[in-house]
Structure formats: structure tokens, C-alpha cells
């Protein structure tokens, strides 16, 4: 599309993206966003009428809403042409709701996920795993012990058929309605795949539930929808990993995540995203947290051309708690705009936001956050900490921590640091035997340690190695 794109193709820091499979799709929607395309998607999925209606309503809203262009310092979206994006590709898999045995998958898809380490990860203490290839979940497996307790972990399309009452009530109604923003509306019209998690009252799912999303075709959009319902007193940890290979034209990832945290329930949502550098990553993630509940967002945002991602939590019930931990890495030509939003709508609610970002080779990271404490939410407290680390004078980092405090009896703390990687620190490590690259990698690994220690070990290792890959070749 442009010369900048050609340049991106040549970066050698993306070795892991280089394997890409020939597309072998069963159904492809074609480019663009019309009523016909939306009807085709719904029809291909054999959806009930009510879901088609919701899609069409979203489409209407999408056309009526403007692209966000007036945010201060927001990423440039002018190169993103949604009419050029292919919103729906169904891979050629026999079983519609995905295989539950790894060996039933077509070889090329098996191979892709093998290379990403999915079966490996599954063997290591996971309650369940799902894998999405293009628009559809191709593999889903849940350990029996959890199924017996009434835990549901299936793909979103299956949930529409098998659990219509829950989906009707919770799907893009009270948490993320299509009217929320233009990309939420787009998502509502063309969503496909994603996970549905239901945890009954007082059930603790001890091991994490994992989903992996892979975009393999050029110029496509991935719009998976994840809906998590944790009933009173329950507990679950959901992890998602995302990646896409490199291609010449732009891809779009616009996922939607809705989490319902019941009274005294506890949900952790962890993401490690590693999109190729032609992907626009524009998501809407939100949780509603009832009395005494706890919501935790842990996100690692790597890759992509531009990311706009601000997971939000509405602390609706008294004593509800929110924790946000985010890390962002921007290299050459990348604009990573991430942050957090928390709405304190009840007394004695508590939030902590910890954000770390790294920018190098002219990359840009921005923390954009909002903490809203409503009138009457007395005894609430919030603590926001943003740290940015820069490699050079070409890279930039901004912090925009908006606070709207309408209640006086609250405790508000905010801290922000922006620093360049210290030459003396690098020299110290070098004098002990580490070369320049390793010294910088160690400093970065230490910088993000508070975040990696929250992640399960495989993901911590993954995140560290992704950062190593990002840093290789471009230093020195």
C-alpha cells in the first residue's frame, strides 16, 4: 500500500510471524461491510433470527457513528480502510463448533498452533483451551472435572445455540452495547468466534482457562467476542494469546470482551497480544463488578501498527475491587495507545492501576486512563502508577491520566515516571560480563517484572522472549 509497508515486511525481528499458511477457507465473506455481508455471516453460522437482528442494528449504528479523530494524541487511523478488510473467513474444518480432539484438526492448522506452542501449553496445567483460526474456533477442550461442576467453556457461536437465554441477556446489552463506540458497533455487526465462559455459584476453577486467536489471512479482520459470566462467589482465570503473521496489507483486530463479576466473585483476565506490525488492534473490553467482587486485568500489548485498548471496569457494588496491570512495547513505526478506565459507582470500592511501557527506535507509547469516582462513592480509593522507559531520544511516551472525582471522602494517589534507559546501569551490567543487548534486555525484564510475576509461567516466559525478539537486531 505504501513504502512504509514494504519496509515493515523486511523487519527481521518478527521471525515468529514468518511462517504463514496458505489460506484454505471454506467460506469467505468478501471485502467490505454491507448488509449482504452481515446476512451472509449470520446465515453461514445458522444463527437464530434475534442474533441477525442484533447484527443489523449494530451495522446501522456503525454507519451512523464517526471514527474517533479528536482525541488528543491518538494513533493515526487514516490508513485503515475498513472497506478493504475481509471480515469473515471460515476455515475448512468439518465440525462446526470446533474439534475437541487435537488430531481431528486439518494438518495446516495443527501445524500453526504447534508452532505457537498451544498443545504444549495445554499439557501444562490448564483447565481448558480454545484455539481460534481466522473467524472460527477450531479447537476447544475443557477438562471433565470442571464440566461436571457446571462450568461452561465453549465458543461463542455454540453458546448462541446452546445457551440462548444467557447470551440474549448478556451479549452486548448492558456491558458493551454497540452504541459504545464505532468499533464496538462494527464488532457487533460482524463478530465471529471467541469464547463463552460460565462459572456457577461458589465454583472455583483452579487452573486457568486459555484461548488463542490466530489471524492467518491477509487483509482480514478478526472480531472475536468473549463473554465471561462468573456467578456469586466463583473464581476463574481466563488467558488469551493473540498473533497474526506478517502480510502486506492491513489487518484489523477488533475484539469485544464482556465480563460479569458476581457478588464476591473473582475474575482475572490476562492477555498477551503479539500482532504483526500491519495490524490495527482496536478493542473494547469491559467488566461489571458486583458487591465485594474483584476484577483483575493483566495485559501485555506487543506488536501491531496501532493499538487502542483501555480495559474498563465498572465497580457497581459496595466494596468491589479492580486491579489493572498493563504493559506496552512500541518499536519503530508503532503507536501503542493503552490504558485503563475505572468507574467507582459504589462506596468503599478500590482500584489500582499499574502501567509500564517501553518505547524504542521512534516508537510511541501512551497511557490514556480515566478514573471516575461518582458522588456518593465514599470511602473509595484509587492508586494509579504509570512508568515509561525509553531507549533513545527518538521515541516518545505520553501520560494522560484523567481523574473525575465527584466525592470528597476518597483516597486518590497518582504517580508517573518517564525515564531513559540509564547508561550507567548498562555499563554496570556490561562490566559484569553481559553484552550491550543482554544488559538492556535485563533492565527491561526487570522493569516489567511486577507484571510478569502476575502471569502464569508460560506467559511470563513468552512475554520476556517476545521482548527479547523485539530488541534483537535493532540495537547497536
Amino acid at each position: 500500500m505504501s513504502s512504509e509497508q514494504d519496509h515493515l515486511k523486511e523487519t527481521d525481528t518478527e521471525k515468529r510471524f514468518e511462517f504463514k499458511k496458505e489460506e484454505s477457507a471454506a467460506v469467505t465473506s468478501g471485502k467490505g461491510l454491507t448488509e449482504e455481508v452481515v446476512r451472509m455471516i449470520s446465515d453461514d453460522k445458522d444463527e437464530p433470527e434475534w442474533m441477525l437482528e442484533r447484527r443489523l442494528r449494530s451495522l446501522k449504528q456503525y454507519h451512523e457513528m464517526p471514527l474517533p479523530t479528536d482525541w488528543p494524541g491518538q494513533p493515526d487511523l487514516t490508513e485503515l480502510d475498513i472497506e478493504e478488510i475481509v471480515p469473515y473467513i471460515r476455515p475448512d474444518v468439518d465440525k462446526r463448533s470446533g474439534a475437541d480432539d487435537w488430531d481431528d484438526l486439518p494438518e495446516d492448522i495443527q501445524d500453526t498452533f504447534e508452532q505457537l506452542g498451544i498443545p504444549e501449553a495445554e499439557r501444562k496445567a490448564l483447565s481448558g483451551v480454545g484455539a481460534q483460526y481466522e473467524s472460527e474456533v477450531v479447537y476447544q477442550n475443557m477438562q471433565e472435572q470442571w464440566e461436571e461442576k457446571g462450568v461452561v467453556f465453549c465458543n461463542m457461536d455454540e453458546a448462541v445455540r446452546e445457551h440462548p437465554e444467557l447470551v440474549k441477556e448478556y451479549f452486548m446489552t448492558k456491558c458493551v452495547p454497540p452504541s459504545d463506540n464505532k468499533f464496538a458497533a462494527l464488532h457487533g455487526a460482524v463478530w465471529s468466534g471467541g469464547s463463552f465462559v460460565y462459572v456457577p455459584e461458589d465454583v472455583t476453577v483452579e487452573m486457568p482457562v486459555q484461548a488463542y486467536f490466530r489471524m492467518n489471512s491477509e487483509g482480514m479482520g478478526q472480531f472475536e467476542h468473549t463473554l465471561i459470566i462468573a456467578e456469586e462467589g466463583s473464581e476463574v482465570h481466563y488467558i488469551e494469546g493473540c498473533s497474526a503473521p506478517k502480510y502486506g496489507s492491513h489487518n484489523l483486530h477488533s475484539g469485544g470482551v464482556e465480563v460479569f463479576v458476581g457478588e464476591d466473585a473473582h475474575v482475572q483476565y490476562s492477555t498477551v497480544q503479539n500482532w504483526s506490525k500491519n495490524t490495527y488492534n482496536l478493542n473494547t473490553k469491559r467488566a461489571i463488578c458486583e458487591k465485594g467482587g474483584t476484577m483483575e486485568w493483566v495485559s501485555g500489548s506487543m506488536g501491531s501498527k496501532a493499538t487502542m485498548l483501555y480495559p474498563s471496569t465498572i465497580l457497581k457494588g459496595r466494596g468491589a475491587t479492580d486491579n489493572h496491570i498493563t504493559i506496552a512495547f512500541a518499536g519503530e513505526g508503532q503507536d501503542i495507545d493503552t490504558g485503563a478506565k475505572v468507574y467507582h459507582n459504589a462506596p468503599n470500592t478500590k482500584s489500582t492501576i499499574e502501567s509500564k511501557s517501553i518505547a524504542k527506535d521512534g516508537g510511541r507509547t501512551n497511557y490514556r486512563g480515566l478514573v471516575h469516582i461518582a458522588d456518593g462513592a465514599e470511602g473509595s480509593s484509587t492508586s494509579v502508577e504509570c512508568d515509561a522507559l525509553m531507549f533513545d531520544n527518538e521515541s516518545t511516551s505520553d501520560t494522560m491520566p484523567y481523574m473525575e472525582i465527584q466525592e470528597s471522602k476518597v483516597d486518590v494517589a497518582h504517580e508517573a515516571t518517564v525515564g531513559k534507559i540509564g547508561d550507567e546501569d548498562v555499563f554496570y551490567l556490561q562490566s559484569r560480563g553481559l553484552d550491550d543487548d543482554d544488559a538492556k534486555q535485563m533492565i527491561v525484564a526487570g522493569f516489567i517484572e511486577p507484571i510478569t510475576e502476575e502471569l502464569p509461567i508460560e506467559y511470563a516466559v513468552e512475554l520476556n522472549r517476545l521482548i527479547e525478539l523485539e530488541m534483537e537486531g535493532s540495537l547497536g
Partner: protein
């Protein structure tokens, strides 16, 4: 037996527009197993000498050389040092390569690295040093082949591919032994590198690092500043152990006689205006303690 040799070393601040000569012809020789004290007034070039030896990028060497002479067996009996690779001009090498050859700098103000545990850092450093050493001594051709093989072939989710020469369990053992010798609390192993350490703990940590990395020559820059008497004794014990157990040569920069009561120097040197103005035995340090530096200055400029 290794020898660190500084010949006519001149250095200035490596910044454009700054034309300040800091080292003005330093000559010095430190052999394995010897303890040297480097003294002198503030601004005489002691710390700069230390940093230039280690390869600090803030200084530019304008004249002279820093040589390291090695002998076969210096890196243990199994490591063969060929004849044509026994003398190294350190000024041609990166700081980490100098470390790999056995040069250690104990910092006056050690860096604080958040999020990196002592254990992780020290094991990484030890393995990096051993690996770099292999590379420095292997034939050029072999090296090229290895470069070609380097690639990315496993998934990151399969865990770390290479543990390094010294594994986790083996390293834990080494670390606990050395920490016990220095009377350091075991908890240090899991703390972040120097982060929140007291001045004394940082200095103790510098000596611990030297004990683990087993250098041929250790340059210790004001290791005694900010130490209370108990810690001074621990640190001194550590320095003596470096010399007695590992045969490390020590170049100790200090302002005070105090530490020399515990770490007795074989040689004492006085720096003035970027040169070594006077050298002598342990008695020289005592004389300086009593009479200051003025007499050295007078004597030096009279004879010069």
C-alpha cells in the same frame, strides 16, 4: 599468573567541546595475588583510571595502553590459552569482553536494577562471562559457523531453550557458599540487584560479585566508603579471601588508611594530577595518613 599493565595512559572526557585531560600518563602494574592501594586527593584521576580500565564509554583514551597478560592455566587447568592469545590490549575490547578476560570493577556507586534478582543477575553474568571467554579464544572460522546456525526455531512457549553452562541448582550452591563467607543474609539472593540496599550492603555486594565471577584482577573503587566498622571487617575479609583463595590481584582505590589495617597492601601508589606521583610499600599509606599529600606534591614537582 595474570598481569594488568597500564602504560603512559592518557584519557579525557569523551564529549564534544569538553577538552579536559584527566589522565596524564598513568603507569601501573598489578599482578595476580598482589594487593595495591591507589590513593590521592579528590580529582587526581583515581576513579577515572578504574573506569578506563573497565571500558567506561564516558572516557576517551588519547594515548597509552592497557594490557592484560595471561598465562596458560589462568582460567583453570582445562582451559587452554594459546601462546598468541596471552596478551590482550583491553582498549580494543568491549567492557563485557574485558570482564570475560578477568577484569572486575567494584563500583563506588553501584547501579540499582529493579526487578532483577541477585540470583538471576549473577547466574546470567557468570554464564555470559564463560560464554564470552569461549568466543574470545575460539578460532575465527568456528565462530562464523556458529553465527549462521543461530536462529529462532522453537516456540517461546516451550520455555527457555538454553540454561547456560552453570545450571540453576549448581549456581545456588556456589552462591550460598560465597554469601556465607561474606556473612551475608540468605535473603539477599532473592532481593533485586542493589535496589534499596544500604550503602554498606551495596559494597558487600560488590565483593560478593567479585567472589562469584573470580576475576584475575579486581579494581575496587572506594569500597570502604560508607561502611561501619563491622561491615568494613566483613568486606576486608572478603577482599583478602579473593586474593588468598582465588589469587586475584587487587587494585584498591581509597582515601583512608582505615581499610588498609585490615587489607594490608603490598604496594601503595599516590596519584596527583592524572599521574602516579609516588609508589612505595605499606608504610607510605601510614605516612600519608599522618602528613597528607602536600609533601608528595612538593617532592614530585621538585624532581620533575
Amino acid at each position: 599468573m595474570a598481569t594488568l599493565e597500564l602504560n603512559n595512559l592518557h584519557a579525557e572526557v569523551a564529549e564534544e567541546g569538553v577538552d579536559e585531560q584527566i589522565l596524564d600518563g598513568v603507569d601501573l602494574e598489578v599482578k595476580s595475588g598482589e594487593i595495591h592501594a591507589l590513593m590521592g586527593p579528590n580529582g587526581s584521576g583515581k576513579s577515572t583510571t578504574a573506569k578506563v580500565i573497565a571500558g567506561h564509554p564516558a572516557y576517551e583514551v588519547t594515548e597509552g595502553e592497557v594490557l592484560l597478560h595471561l598465562e596458560d592455566g589462568d582460567f583453570g587447568g582445562a582451559f587452554e590459552i594459546p601462546e598468541d592469545k596471552r596478551t590482550w590490549d583491553l582498549l580494543d575490547l568491549e567492557p563485557n569482553e574485558r570482564a570475560a578476560l578477568g577484569v572486575f570493577l567494584g563500583f563506588q556507586y553501584p547501579a540499582e536494577i529493579e526487578g532483577v534478582t541477585m540470583t538471576n543477575f549473577l547466574r546470567t553474568a557468570l554464564n555470559a562471562k564463560l560464554e564470552e571467554r569461549e568466543e574470545l579464544f575460539e578460532d575465527e572460522d568456528e565462530h562464523e559457523e556458529e553465527e549462521e546456525e543461530a536462529g529462532y526455531d522453537t516456540s517461546p512457549m516451550e520455555g527457555p531453550a538454553d540454561e547456560g553452562e552453570v545450571g540453576v541448582a549448581e549456581f545456588q550452591q556456589i552462591l550460598s557458599e560465597k554469601m556465607e563467607q561474606l556473612d551475608m543474609d540468605e535473603k539477599f539472593a532473592q532481593r533485586y540487584l542493589n535496589a534499596g540496599f544500604s550503602g554498606g550492603e551495596k559494597k558487600q555486594n560488590e565483593v560478593l560479585q567479585a567472589a562469584i565471577l573470580e576475576p584475575e584482577v579486581a579494581v575496587l573503587d572506594e569500597i570502604d566508603s560508607g561502611l561501619d566498622i563491622d561491615r568494613l571487617q566483613d568486606v576486608s575479609k572478603g577482599i583478602n579471601a579473593l586474593r588468598d583463595e582465588q589469587g586475584t590481584g587487587i587494585l584498591q582505590i581509597t582515601h583512608y588508611q582505615r581499610i588498609l589495617d585490615y587489607v594490608e597492601p603490598d604496594h601503595v601508589h599516590v596519584m596527583l594530577d592524572g599521574k602516579v606521583a609516588k609508589s612505595g610499600g605499606a608504610e607510605l599509606a601510614e605516612k600519608l595518613e599522618d602528613n597528607g599529600y602536600d609533601w608528595v606534591r612538593e617532592e614530585f614537582y621538585e624532581t620533575a
